[in-house]
Amino acid sequence: MGRTVLVTGVSRYLGGRMAVLLASDPAVSNVIGVDVVPPDLAIPGTEFVRADIRNPVIAKVMGEAGVDTVVHMGVIATSKQAGGRSTMKEINVIGTMQLLAACQRTPSVRSLIVKSTAAVYGSGPKDPAKFSEDMEPRHAPSSGWAKDSVEVETYVRGFARRRPDVTVTNLRFANFIGPHVQTALTAYFSLPVVPTVFGFDPRLQFVHEDDGLEAIRTAVLAPRQGTFNVAGDGVLMLSQALRRARRPTIAVPGPMFSAVGRALSPRGLADFSAEAVRYLTFGRALDTRAMRRTLGFEPSWTSEGAFMSFMNRDELAPEADVA
């Protein structure tokens, strides 16, 4: 008998693709998708459960289906997606608490995989060139998605203590990029005029969307206890990325950056929150040795290659879009 996997956040692009990827895997016999909103399209091979965070329905579903693996991809990055910062915080933090409570009550759960973000390291001038998993942030994030992710990781660590029999894999991803995925950063690179912080050129690291999903699949099929950075090799300077993207840029002094950024992004898809501004000022890079040694995952795209595939997205033949 194959595995029964529960995936949260399936109504968004990555979660949906993850569910499809797992459903097609011979080692997985059953995939249950959970989200607060129904997906736009049916996800083949997946049973969808619409779960509200104020409702203990997940625990019931998990118990009845005998879920053994939980993939938590339900943390939202921008308030635009959730319809407000308070809703976003509620979905991210309270939603995670509810999910972990359900996991704790379900004896069949053997492994938990959490999609976290490298944003938990923060960014600033005191950062080492590369963060490894055991390093404490030098500039701890104080707001938004990054702060939510720090709290999510805290609850996940608490769960790992209470259920030592469950293998907990926490994956800290660099920024997702690729031909399809839409994030605040892809919106930033798509602005008609891209603002940059004057006098700073951050180092950026990316993970290709296919690689990101493969990393999660690797963790589902061979669970490993611990926290792992996941990123494509190498870094790209912001200036270099923008030159390759052939984008007109405007250098804005630091204090005015977020105001100018917001003015240039009328639809508000690009993120100019304090944390995003710090990232676009100081950048960040990850040490991915543990990803290779312990998790056993080998990305097939470099940071540069992943960025190129995002840049050339229009030239690609349209693939069958899932979810």
């Binding site: 001038p125 005191k126 950062d127 080492p128 060139a129 590369k130 490894s132 390093m135 031909p179 912080v197 004057f198 006098g199 700073f200 050129d201 180092r203 290709h208 090799d233 190498g234 870094v235 790209l236 300077m237 200036s239 270099q240 990325a241 923008l242 030159r243 390759r244 002094p253 630091g254 100081f282 950048g283 890079a285 040490d287 991915t288 040795r289 290779r292 040694r293 097939s300 795209w301 470099t302 540069e304 290659g305 992943a306 960025f307 190129m308 595939s309 840049m311 050339n312 030239e315 690609l316």
Partner: protein, 350 residues
């Protein structure tokens, strides 16, 4: 023709490093093609970024040191400055994980510093045989001169005068990386934050790492205290050398003390500007921008005999007594070397 390269980092056998090598695959192919035909400046097809597994090279074949990754002969002959600017504008170049841009450093940054080194300060460098050609080493030097021109001159010396044209990767204070423009240039020139993980990462990768352990105490000291070494930090640099078993090369730089003779420190202005000190010299700030021109003192740089660290037992880096003693030994050697150079120098501006 060089396509964008990802420059390998990490110790031999380090998976990070292997990955860097592999990422060179498509670029190398592109380089061969580029040598016979026009420069491929158009957007790269996405498959190029995907790393073919068959091109994986054994790490043993990997070269150590960035100077070998980007040598002058790799930059195509006959590439005029216009082509160079055009290629730069297309983002067609590589940086390593620290943000080090070897091409920009060689072609632009060092070219700006070179006239200062050769004509203005007439730097004479000795003891380069102490600096290894391939392996990692820690260059420890005295710090002076209000702004870190001494560090920049040491970088020019090692690149221009050393037979292996080595790049010096310096460890700087976080203030450097906090300042606009300065922080950006420092990263591109290959420098990084003075912290244990970065020092060890660079040394383990076989890089030449430069530290100025006196920090702001040394660079911002009054003229009356010239050539008197200040306290040597907390010995973090010694621990990094011990952990990576890299030799320490005590280096003395004479001449930087006279470029901006600091007669006073305007502490209130410094506090307002958030700086560790604000220099008052006979010409600055009185003469405005003219006061910022450094005086043309005569410089001597001497790389002293390396102090090996590989004979210490495992775990010596965690023994504070070993670290203190080694720190003192390095400091003493630099101080002696400074006195010798000062005697050798005919006069401050000779």
């Amino acid at each position: 023709m060089p396509d964008a390269d990802v420059i390998p980092f990490g110790a031999p056998g380090d998976p990070d490093r292997d990955a860097g090598r592999v990422a060179l695959g498509p670029s190398k192919a592109a380089r061969v093609v580029g040598n016979t035909g026009p420069q491929p400046t158009g957007p790269v097809v996405p498959v190029e970024g995907r790393r073919p597994v068959v091109e994986r090279e054994p790490s043993a074949a990997g070269v150590v040191g960035t100077h070998e990754v980007w040598t002058d002969d790799e930059i195509p002959e006959g590439e005029g400055w216009l082509d160079f600017v055009r290629r730069r504008m297309a983002g067609d170049y590589g940086v390593d994980d620290f943000g080090f841009d070897p091409e920009l450093t060689d072609k632009v940054l060092l070219s700006v510093l070179r006239p200062l080194y050769r004509s203005w300060f007439r730097v004479e460098t000795t003891g380069l045989e102490s600096v290894p050609s391939e392996s990692g080493a820690l260059i420890v030097a005295n710090h002076s001169g209000v702004i870190a021109i001494d560090a920049a001159m040491a970088q020019v010396a090692l690149h221009d005068e050393h037979p292996a044209h080595r790049h010096l990767r310096m460890l700087g204070a976080n203030l450097v990386f906090q300042m606009p423009v300065m922080g950006e240039i420092a990263r591109k020139a290959g420098h990084t934050l003075a912290c244990q993980p970065d020092a060890e990462r660079l040394l383990a990768a076989g890089e030449l790492v430069g530290v100025w352990p006196e920090g702001f105490k040394g660079i911002g000291k009054p003229f009356s205290q010239r050539y008197k070494l200040q306290r040597f930090g907390r010995g973090g640099f010694v621990a990094a050398a011990l952990r990576t078993k890299s030799p320490i090369i005590p280096t003395a730089i004479v001449g930087a003390e006279e470029i901006y003779p600091m007669i006073a420190n305007a502490k209130t202005i410094a506090r307002i500007l958030g700086l560790p000190y604000f220099p008052i010299t006979p010409t600055f700030p009185w003469l405005g921008p003219v006061g910022m021109v450094p005086l043309p003192s005569k410089w001597l740089i001497h790389f002293g005999d390396p102090i090996p660290t590989d004979h210490f037992p495992e775990g010596a880096a965690d023994d504070p007594m070993v670290v203190f003693n080694l720190t003192d030994q390095v400091r003493e050697q630099i101080q002696q070397s400074l006195y010798r150079l000062l005697v050798k120098r005919p006069s401050a501006f000779g």
